[in-house]
Structures are given as structure tokens and as C-alpha cells.
């Protein structure tokens, strides 16, 4: 009986250790970044879907998505990009060290997203042609940052 209890304790302890390792792998900064990017993609999906003709144009839905993206572009994300959370320092992220090495350029990319979003706020609710005219600038702002600062899969 005592032996069985001891065994159970050892197994429990072992699985607790495993759990704490698993927790170490998911860094809260990286999680926050991914969640933030997910919210951007979720809203861009509405605009891109309309621009590509995958869904019908809806001025109200497009406006909402555009102002959401604009609001997201105003969020101060600096704490998410904590030192030591690049892909050379840890697993589970594709963020390149260049983000920290060229911080001014990275900030300029975030600012470019904000101005792309601003243009989209003005265009999205007008008509489909205006939305289509603004999507390239907004997507281009995302792409320009991913080009320099995100590792391929």
C-alpha cells in the first residue's frame, strides 16, 4: 500500500514537472503577439474577402472592420516585444532578431500600418472600388514588416 502511494506520488510529481516545462514553452509575450496578429487577420479577412469577391460588399461591416484595425494599430504593443523573445533565443516564435536590431525601422512599420488603416477607414464604407483601392496599401504595410522581420515557416 505504502509502495503504491509512493509510486503515485512519484508519477504525480513527474507529471507536474512535465506541466511546468510545457508552461515555460508558451511565453506570455509571444502569446499576446499571436493574439494581436490574429485579431488583425480576423478583421482584414472581412475587407480582403470583400475585395476578392469571396463575400458580398457590406458598407457597415467593412467600416467596422476598418475601424477595428485602426484601433488595433493604436495599441501600444511595445511590452509584447520583450528582449530575449526572438526566434534565436526561444522556440515557438518566428520573430527575427532584426526587430530589436533595427528598432527604429520596426517602429516605422507599425506606423505604416496605422496610416494604411487610416486610409482604409476613409475608404471601406464608401464603396467596393474604394475598398479595393485601399486594401493594397494596408496589406502592403503588413507584408513590408513580415518581409524584414518574420522568419519563413
Amino acid at each position: 500500500m505504502i509502495r503504491r502511494l509512493a509510486l503515485t506520488a512519484v508519477v504525480a510529481l513527474g507529471s507536474m514537472t512535465t506541466m511546468s516545462f510545457a508552461q515555460q514553452e508558451t511565453d506570455p509575450n509571444v502569446n499576446a503577439r499571436k493574439a494581436y496578429m490574429g485579431l488583425l487577420a480576423y478583421n482584414i479577412g472581412v475587407l480582403g474577402g470583400m475585395a476578392q469577391g469571396r463575400m458580398d460588399y457590406d458598407a457597415a461591416a467593412a467600416s467596422t472592420a476598418a475601424s477595428n484595425i485602426h484601433a488595433l494599430s493604436m495599441v501600444d504593443t511595445s511590452r509584447m516585444w520583450a528582449d530575449g523573445t526572438d526566434n534565436q533565443s526561444m522556440e515557438g516564435t518566428r520573430a527575427l532578431p532584426a526587430i530589436w536590431e533595427n528598432a527604429a525601422d520596426f517602429d516605422a512599420r507599425i506606423a505604416a500600418m496605422a496610416s494604411g488603416a487610416e486610409a482604409m477607414v476613409a475608404a471601406a464604407g464608401t464603396d467596393l472600388a474604394s475598398l479595393q483601392g485601399a486594401i493594397g496599401g494596408l496589406g502592403g504595410a503588413c507584408g513590408a514588416c513580415h518581409q524584414s522581420f518574420r522568419q519563413p515557416e
Partner: protein, 303 residues
């Protein structure tokens, strides 16, 4: 003993002669040369070839924004560096500048460089320049491309030197590499459906998708048995994905090549961002053709 030394000398001389003969840079076949010369050049088609072949991806100014206007993408300054296991290759200036670029070349020299990987001086080019792909292009498209090239600006930026060490800095040795790896046959079998057939030409003859999306062997040759199966990034960290990506439709692929948006509205990054910048400038039917080829190729039974 002297006999032995003599034998060694003869063997060495014969070996050197064999190496010299095997690695001799080849010129273009007579039929190709004739087709180049007899074709009435169409610079408008040449521009389409330019974007489909992705020349600007490597030869435009490094760090050029994906949203940069077309004029900037047409300034072929060179300077882009590729860190590979063989050393650092740096794209040269291929603008129309007569001394820093290729402005003084003629059509035959251009076609020999692009389709054969041989310079006007008769030296092998490193296969970082995807002439193994362009060898499958039609002479007519190459003649059109050269006609379009005449309208490109001359830029006086000097070409940077490659950072490649011994033995890879001996260009003659690339002749051996070519014997092993230079295969001008298409990878996919002939496809009957016209759109997929056009896509095969665009991907295998111009777009050089396989250069990054196909794994390489130890000598840096593409493993044709794993065509477009995804590979380690040939010039940096990370992995280049399998084509087509799992679950993507033809519409998804064409939309991605036009806009950079994945079906889940992630946005293209890395070196693929430049590829999309080029592909967004080709005809919509050609993007659809690439999509059709990728889906058709993946659905073929294993040979």
C-alpha cells in the same frame, strides 16, 4: 622510380585534360540561336516574361519595399546577398549600364547567360542564378525579354563580389556541377489541360518556384523526386513550405499571388513578399494557370 613519376605525370595531365574537357562552358544549340534571331521581338510580352521570371526579386535594390512603384523595381542594381552553405552569393548589376551592367551585351550573349549559365567571357555562372529553370524557357520568350530589357534604366552601381571560398571559387568546377544537376527536362509530365500546361511552363520554365520549394542534395542540386515538397530555407533560417499548401484551392493560390493574403488572411513575408510583388504584375490568367499546375501536379499518381 622515374617510370613511376612519369606515369603519375601522364595521369595528372590526362586528368587535367579530362577536367578541362568536361567542364568546358557550352554554347547554345544552333536551333535555339536560329529561333532567337528569327523571332520578331515583342517587348510587351518581354515585360510579362520579366515579371513571371522574377528577375527583380534578386536584382532590384536590396530592401526595396514590396509596395515600391514599378520604376524602382525595374532598376536592376544588384547587391542582394544570399548566405548559403557554399558561401555568400551576391546578385550583380544587370541593368542596361554598358560597363557596370549588361547594356553592351547582344541577344546571343544574353540568351547564353540566361539559358545556359555562361557569361560572354565564357565562364560558368553560379546556379544561384536559376538558369537551370530558364533553360526550359522558349527562345522566343527570351528574345522578347531582351527586347523589353532595352527599355530598362542604366544604373552605375558596381556589382559586389561573391563571398565564396575554395573550391567553389573555381568557376570551371561548376562544369562538373552542371553535368550532375543541369537538367533541362521538365519535371512534371506533359499536361493536356491547357491551363495546367501553361502553369507548368510558368513554374518550371520561368517562375523558378522549385529553387526554394524543392529540397537540395549535398551538391546543391535540386532533388527532382521531391519536387515542390518544401525544403530548408536555402538562404537563411526556417522552412519553405510544400506547394500547394494543404487545403488551398486554385482561387486561394491565385489570390495569394496577387495580394499576398493567405486564405486565413495572414500576409506574405520573407523573400516570398518579393515574389508576390512580381506575380501581382502578371496576367490574372497566368496566376490561375500556376494554381492549376500546382494542384494538378500534386494530384498526379507517383511515377
Amino acid at each position: 622510380m622515374r617510370k613511376l613519376a612519369g606515369l603519375a605525370l601522364v595521369t595528372a595531365v590526362l586528368g587535367a585534360a579530362l577536367f578541362w574537357a568536361l567542364t568546358r562552358p557550352a554554347s547554345l544549340p544552333v536551333e535555339t540561336l536560329a529561333a532567337l534571331q528569327n523571332h520578331p521581338a515583342d517587348p510587351a510580352n518581354g515585360e510579362a516574361v520579366f515579371w513571371a521570371a522574377g528577375c527583380a526579386s534578386c536584382h532590384a535594390e536590396p530592401g526595396l519595399e514590396t509596395t515600391a512603384p514599378t520604376e524602382e523595381r525595374l532598376r536592376l542594381t544588384g547587391g542582394h546577398a544570399f548566405d548559403t552553405p557554399f558561401g555568400t552569393f551576391r546578385a550583380p548589376n544587370i541593368s542596361m549600364h554598358p560597363t557596370q551592367g549588361i547594356g553592351a551585351w547582344d541577344l546571343t550573349q544574353f540568351a547564353t547567360a540566361v539559358m545556359q549559365g555562361v557569361s560572354p567571357e565564357g565562364a560558368h555562372y553560379y546556379p544561384a542564378f536559376p538558369y537551370t529553370t530558364y533553360s526550359r524557357a522558349t527562345p522566343e520568350d527570351i528574345a522578347d525579354l531582351w527586347a523589353f530589357w532595352q527599355s530598362l534604366p542604366a544604373v552605375d552601381t558596381p556589382s559586389p563580389r561573391h563571398g565564396v571560398g575554395f573550391p567553389f571559387n573555381i568557376r570551371r568546377g561548376l562544369g562538373l556541377w552542371k553535368i550532375l544537376n543541369f537538367n533541362a527536362d521538365f519535371v512534371a509530365p506533359v499536361l493536356d489541360e491547357p491551363r495546367a500546361a501553361r502553369g507548368r511552363y510558368l513554374v518550371e520554365g520561368l517562375g523558378h518556384c522549385g529553387e526554394c520549394h524543392t529540397p537540395r542534395d549535398i551538391a546543391g542540386g535540386l532533388d527532382r523526386s521531391q519536387w515542390l515538397m518544401g525544403a530548408a530555407n536555402p538562404a537563411g533560417d526556417g522552412r519553405i513550405p510544400t506547394l500547394p499548401p494543404q487545403g488551398w484551392s486554385a482561387v486561394d493560390i491565385a489570390a495569394y499571388l496577387q495580394s499576398g493574403f493567405t486564405p486565413s488572411f495572414d500576409v506574405v513575408g520573407g523573400s516570398m513578399a518579393d515574389v508576390v510583388a512580381n506575380m501581382s504584375r502578371i496576367a490574372p490568367e497566368d496566376r490561375a494557370a500556376i494554381a492549376q499546375y500546382l494542384l494538378t501536379f500534386r494530384s498526379l499518381p507517383n511515377p
